[in-house]
Structure formats: structure tokens, C-alpha cells
Amino acid sequence: MVQLVPEERKMLSGSLGEGVALAMETVVKVAEVLGAPKLVKISSAHISGVSYRNLGEEGVEFLEELAAKGARFSVPTTVNPAGFDLEAHSEMGVGEEEYELQMRIVRALVSMGARVTLSCTPYLISPPSFGEHLAWAESNAVLYANSVVGARTNREGGPLSVLEAIVGRAPYVGLHADEGRAPTVVVNASGVKSFVEETGAVSALGYLLGAEVKRGVPLLANAPRNIAHPGNLRLFLAAVGAASSIGMVLIENVSPEFRRVEGLEEIPLEEGELEGVLERWSGEEFDAVVLGCPHLSPGELAELASRMKGRRVKRQVLVFTSRWAASRAADAVAALKGNGVKVYADTCMVVGNLSALGIRRCATDSAKAAYYLSNQGYEVVLAPRDSLLKAVLERS
């Protein structure tokens, strides 16, 4: 039985509106199914499943109905990327019908009180604090919040996060509770440490860890030193999320809750396995380099711009970021555009439509993007950012 406090029972009763009652009924049912003893108040929510290509007409109607029934988000709520850059939709080959469908989603979310961040990096835009409970749905953001910040959220799921944002609560279970945050398995990276440090294959490492461990809270021992670089950390965690249902990795010198536990099963990672991941996405040819899964930070945009000084691109380079980061790094964005790089905000290569830009084969530094793009039928090359840039830059 899920214990509810009077305020929660009031939401359930319908006296606060039909939308609130439906949201509460569903959150309580999920809590029951997951074996949560109670709900916990959250300080923010992050909604995934925002692109019109994921939601479809009926998903859009669901959000509109909730909004029409008077449901409002009761906590600060951010949202995942949309299907295209809202300010460059015609350039991205988006038709009027698709544009209108996407804007209906945005309007419904706004009318319920969401902040239209349209980014998978809410932890950069409105950083949570250690120990806070959140209802975040985007897997890379969940992994970042738990593993790097020490905030607490499960992989709540897109539709559920909408309902949790309305009631301001999540089931108190899994990564919300102390006992759910203890390491369940040790992953020993000593066999791949020097390989990753030399090649920069941090994203492939994340994918391998996810594929090997699949669930629970892995503790990463003997982690490569370059994993602690902020951009690498995001690439690593995003790849873990794409390959598994893991919501937290404990990394030495990174995770505030890192602690060694005796007697856990130990999984060694081997160099051959890592090469296997790289081989899966190892083509030679590509039409475009696509970066920004997760969305590039202002610092990464600046780094990229300085890297491109005095050079131009031989092939298409597409960079995906948040509107927040693009405005913070406006000079870098202008410089990148001057170098022939296409910079898009609000969207990404995974939820957008690269084929409308004439791209069939792409190269990326993100194993998460590689996984989803190859599922969508694209030919994909996975390689570290540095070697991709070397391949496409020439002196101007």
C-alpha cells in the first residue's frame, strides 16, 4: 500500500481538477507496481518525448487535453529537444504540417508552465543540488544528476514525468531511496584504461559498460583519467544510458557518493570488447560529422571554435546545442558558422531528421547517437571528436 499524505489524497479526489486527479492516480499506480511505500516531493522535473516524431497526433492531443483540463506543472519543469530548430525549420526541411504539430506540443507544455529549454542537458541550464529529489526522464540527464551531482531521480520515463511534474511528486523507490544508491557490481576498467586514455574512446567505453552490466548501480574502478573531463563525462554517461537501463554509475573522484563495498561481483572490461563496440560503427565514408549528443556546453562550443581558427571544413559539420548554451557562447557560435559549420539549437541528430538535410552516412563521437541513428537506418561511424575534426579540417 502506498501511504499518502492528506494533500496527496486531495489531489486524488478530483477536487483540484480532473487533470490533477488523472496524474495522481497514475503516479500512485506506478508507485504501487514498483513497491514504493510513499511518494516523495520533487524540486524539478524534466520531460522527454517532446519531438512530434515521437509523440504523434494522439500524444499531442493528450498534452493538450491535460492543459485544457487545467493541469499545471507544480515544480520548475524543463523539456527535451524538439524535432527541429524552432528558428531554422525551413532550412532543416521541415514542412508546415510538421511545424504546426511541433508547435502545438510546445504551446501545450508552455501553457502548463514548462520552461522551453528543448535540451537534454537540464543539469547545465538549471543545475540541481546534492540530495535533491527530481523527476527527470531523459536518460543522460538522469545519469548525470545521480552520478555527478548526487541528486536523486529514477529514469522516470517521458509520459510519467509529465504527470509527476503536475503532482510535484515521484514514487519513493529505486534511486530516490538510500538503499537503491549502493553499488551493486564492480566494473574493473584496468584492462581498457590505457586504450581509452590513448584513443579517447570514452563514449565506446560507456556503451560497453552499459551492454555488459545492463541494470543496477555499477561502481567503475580503475577509470581512465580522461573520463573526468566534463565533455567526456557527458559522452560516457549518455552511452551508458543508451545501452542499458542503468540510472547511476559510481565513478572514483567524480561521484560524491562513491564508496567501496566489499564482496561485490566484479566484471572486468577487456580491450577486445571495446574494439568490438568500435567495429560495430567503423565505416570509412560519411556525408557529415554530427556532434552534440548530449548537447554541447558553452565551454565545448568555445573549444571547438578555437580548434577551427584559421581552418575550414572539407565536409559538412553539424553541431547540436541548447539555445541557452548558444546564447552564452554567441561569439563561438558566430565563429563556427563563419567556418562553415552548421549550428542548430532546440533539436539534435537523434530526434531531428538528418535525411531531410540529405545526410545518409554520418560520423559522430557519441555512441548514444550512433546507436539511435543506426536503428533509424543511417550508416554510422563512431570515432573520438579529435580524430573526426582532423579528418574534416583543412587550412583555409
Binding site: T26, K29, V30, L34, S48, L55, G59, F62, G158, P159
Partner: protein
Amino acid sequence: MRGRGRGPLLVSAEPVSFYGGVDPLTGEVMERGHELYGRSIAGVVLVFPYGKGSTVGSYTLLRLAKRGKAPAGIVNLVSEPIVVVGCMLGGIPLMDSPDPDPFTFERKLNGLEAELVVEEGIGLLRVIPRVRGEEENS
């Protein structure tokens, strides 16, 4: 989820991924290699162990329900949030932890007409008798 639904039983021993695994417009299972590949889940009482894959799958169940292509009811061995949320939004009756376990006599069940009735805290999957009845409770 409370409710009542009737249709032929369709039993899958494999977990089902709704997002990407089921066509949201027709209800046809699109996941290659899946034992239900090419079958339609529209109007059936669908029995499978649990849901898997992306949480966008909840919206797929809602989309099917709005088009009249959703299962008439779902029976899961173990409920997980994707299916729970999808059934809640789509108004699809959902029963979990059936006893006895329907997979122990899966072959006998497939294709039989069944009625699923779920009320507060209790579900009943009733196989419509042709000669003699079979019943199970949870």
C-alpha cells in the same frame, strides 16, 4: 487498470517493446525476430511477461487506444511503468501477477476468446467456455 475487455487471447512469452516494436497506427508488431512479428495486437487480450524499451511506448498504447487499435486488455506477469502508464492513459484494462501463471498452458490459450475484468485491486481473466470453462484469478 480498472475496466473490462473481451477478445481472442494472444500470448507472447517474450517481452514487448511498444515504442518501435508496434506500429502505433495499426497495432501490428514490427519488431523483427519477435515471436509476434506481423501479428496485430488490436482487439486481443494480450498476455506477455512485461514491457521493455523506451518509455515513449506509453504514448504508443495511448495512440492505439485513440484509434481503436489497442488490445482489449493486457495481462502481465510483472507490471512495469511503461505499460502501467500506457494503460492508464489509454483506458486499457491491465491485470498483473496472474495465478495460475498463464504461460504454463500457453498453447491451450492462444486464440481462445477471453474476457478480462479488472476492478479495485482484483483482476479476473475468464476464458469463454466452448465446452467446459477454464478460469483463473489474481
